[in-house]
């Protein structure tokens, strides 16, 4: 498809699909339309950049270090409870 014939979409539409865009959960056609929009819209580009950046930080093991790691002794306590239960 010629780039000039890509149908324009609104900022609202772009933002609504930004998470699906990041996950690759959109059609190639919509992807092309979004990329065309984002090239010319600094505000949507800032939403995409910020969301992508945030997700990269969240996925980094250091972000929630300690918060989701198993508490010390968790596995041992579990094994004991399972043994008592078995």
């Amino acid at each position: 498809m010629d780039e000039h014939h890509i149908i324009e979409i609104s900022c609202e539409h772009v933002i609504l699909e930004i998470s699906n865009y990041i996950d690759g959960e959109i059609t190639l056609d919509l992807r092309a339309r979004m990329e065309e929009h984002i090239r010319g819209c600094k505000h949507c580009a800032a939403v995409l950049d910020g969301t992508t950046n945030t997700l990269r930080l969240i996925a980094d093991g250091r972000a929630f270090e300690g918060a989701f790691d198993l508490p010390a002794g968790f596995s041992e306590r579990l094994r004991q409870r399972l043994a008592a239960h078995a």
Partner: protein, 214 residues
Amino acid sequence: MRAIATIPNQREADLISRIKAGERDLFYELIQPYQRTVYAAAFSVLGNASDAEDAAQEAFLKALTHLGQFRAEAKFSTWLVQIALNEARLRIRKDRKGLYSSIDEGAQDDDGEYFPIDYADWREIPSETLQRKELKEALQRALATLKPIYREVLVLRDIEHLSITETAAALNITEASVKTRLLRARLMMRDSLAPGFDGSWSVGSPTYKKVRPF
């Protein structure tokens, strides 16, 4: 980056059959790879380590008791996460002393549309910044302030790296709902980092206003 650790499915299926046939001491071997994800799922609901451990351990005991009800067409790890989420929610109903106060149990419906804060640009926060406790604290605080329906999808999908299908199955919601909640959760997390994205990392400081275009 952590994905759910998987032992080869055939091995897992064999273990399940043997445990069902009476070799219950093999159960720990079966669930060992999923301890962290089950714990994280409980934590996403309860918000503190001791309640999350309690719920996660109880979930494993229930899984052992009810293993006979596990159907082979389901994914075992997803089944475990479902049990843990249910166990954690039961605790909230019994005792609302959890860290997260905005429980909204009836809030199965997603809120209306959410528009992210408008900035003219976004200055990249490099991953090395995670060495600073200000950024880690900002992320953890942001996660803590999300409503549970958003926190749960974010934890399962973006921290524990379940697929959209697995997240939907674990939460017993449609994939469309996962996507809608994920959008909102991600945008809110992004907005919560914005006050410091100019490098200041002083949430609430005057620099916040300055970076806004209007």
